[in-house]
């Protein structure tokens, strides 16, 4: 009885092993450390020649496959190109690397804004007109992202262009002392006229940006402006002829400071800028402030 049982167990074990070999990989031959492998193909016949196997240099093995007219054969020849997968479902949008603190170089915040401005005591409301600005706040900036919540502190450089227009019937003028002033053109019958002060500045924003979820961002910044160029332009038309009078070399304040706050949704931001300083220092021109500007900005990294 026991003998029969032991024999049965042995047979079962062999069958189990046999079951395993049925599903073993379809290996034809394993040759370790071949000296040379030559593959030839001719007239639908592929021949594989293996010479030497690491232990016996005279070893020779040949494997031949011939395909007939009705065979459907697909062969792939690989030269060792590395592959990569595209994952249609990734855990989060960020790669693992972006979750760690890291530095980044970026261009961001193309803006356009509008505001009013005030000019000097006594003239406010009489000549103060519109203010427009546009530029790139972070043309080239470096930031440090602290954590996976994308808290970022950045310092950068940008470029901006601002215009200040006078309303009612006033033009810009430069006095003999070189000071920019304003004079009335009442009594002169122009078909059309405008008076605009233009300023080009290089901006240096120190910005703190915080992501709120995946779609919202808020940012605050202190901006130092280098007002590197300013000019005024008086334009008027008489009898269908256009005339322009430009004045350069204004003594604008070279360095001014603004505060800026921004909130964005999916990369489109609304911002508010506060500019408490006059564009001209005392004695160099009118007290011209554009205090509050609101505008829109396109955020995101552009490269």
């Amino acid at each position: 009885m026991m003998k029969q049982f032991a024999l049965a167990m042995a047979v079962m074990a062999m069958m189990g092993a046999h079951a395993q070999t049925i599903t073993a990989p379809d290996t034809v031959r394993v040759i370790n450390n071949p000296s040379q492998v030559v593959i030839t193909e001719k007239d639908g016949e592929v021949t594989l020649n293996v010479m030497g196997d690491g232990q016996n240099k005279d070893y020779n093995y040949q494997y031949r496959i011939k395909h007939g007219d009705n065979d459907l054969v697909s062969t792939t020849q690989r030269e060792g190109h590395d592959l990569e997968f595209n994952f249609p479902f990734k855990k989060g949008n960020d790669s693992v690397d972006n979750k760690k603190p890291h530095a980044q170089l970026f261009t961001s915040d193309i803006y356009i804004g509008w505001g009013g401005h005030s000019i000097g005591p006594g003239l406010n409301g009489i000549v103060a007109g519109g203010h427009r600005e546009f530029g790139v706040l972070n043309f080239l900036s470096v930031g440090y992202v602290f954590n996976r919540n994308r808290t970022r502190l950045s310092l950068g450089s940008g470029i901006g262009y601002s215009t200040y227009s006078l309303k009612n019937r006033y033009f810009w003028e430069r006095t003999d002392e070189g000071i920019l002033g304003i004079y009335s053109i009442d009594g002169v019958d122009y078909d059309k006229h405008s008076a605009t002060l233009s300023v080009v500045n290089i901006q240096f924003p120190l910005m703190f940006n915080q992501s709120l979820g995946r779609k919202w961002d808020v940012a605050v910044a202190g901006v130092m402006n280098w007002n590197c160029y300013a000019s005024v332009n008086n334009s008027y038309r008489i009898d269908h002829d256009n005339h322009h009078i430009g004045i350069n070399g204004l003594h604008q304040r070279k360095i001014s400071f603004d505060a800026l706050g921004m909130i964005s949704f999916r990369g489109i931001a609304a911002y508010v800028r506060y500019s408490p300083q006059s564009l001209f220092k005392g004695g160099c021109g009118p007290e011209l402030k554009n205090s509050w500007t609101i505008g829109l900005s396109i955020r995101g990294r552009f490269w």
């Binding site: 009885m1 029969q4 049982f5 049965a8 047979v11 079962m12 069958m15 189990g16 079951a19 599903t23 073993a24 990989p25 379809d26 792939t76 690989r78 060792g80 590395d82 592959l83 990569e84 997968f85 595209n86 994952f87 249609p88 479902f89 990734k90 855990k91």
Partner: protein, 154 residues
């Protein structure tokens, strides 16, 4: 007594065969890697999967090469019975594999057919920038292999 032993042996043999209908890689998605810091598992079905033409999408990426070896063994086990396969070996190890495993279940019409596919990639065997990462992707879809390859292969 002899009769009972023979019947018992036959039943055991049949049970062994029946067990092989299931895939070895199914065991890898049983939750064993849920808490592992070296593994990332993604399981998607329903509307999100159907949006890209899949019924089921399962991926497992490990950075522990011991876990990667276990994945390789399961993949080659299932791959031996694949309807068709595209494989690449490097240094005797499986570097890349794409396997068509056939129908999920027998169907009456072609419209009802759902096919099973497996992708495997061992990036530690890459030539240019090897990294300790083994990826297994299992999918069920009504689409053919070419469409599935477009989805995954870069």
């Amino acid at each position: 007594m002899k009769r009972y032993i023979v019947i018992f042996m036959l039943c055991a043999y049949c049970a062994a065969l029946w067990a092989q209908d299931g895939l070895a890689i199914n065991a890898l998605f049983d939750g064993r890697f849920k808490q592992s810091p070296t593994a990332t598992e993604i399981l998607v079905d329903g509307g999100k999967a159907r949006a890209i033409g899949l019924d089921i999408y399962r991926s497992l990426t490990v950075t522990d090469m011991a876990q990667g070896k276990a994945i390789e063994q399961n993949v080659t086990h299932d791959g031996a019975r694949a309807k068709s396969k595209e494989v690449e070996y490097r240094g005797g190890r499986l570097y890349y594999g794409f396997y068509e495993l056939g129908l999920v279940r027998p169907v009456k019409t072609e419209k009802q057919a759902r096919y099973r596919y497996v992708f495997y990639l061992n990036q530690s065997l890459a030539n240019k920038t090897p990294q300790n990462r083994v990826t297994l992707i299992y999918m069920e879809s009504k689409h053919g292999p070419e469409k599935i390859k477009q989805l995954i292969k870069k």
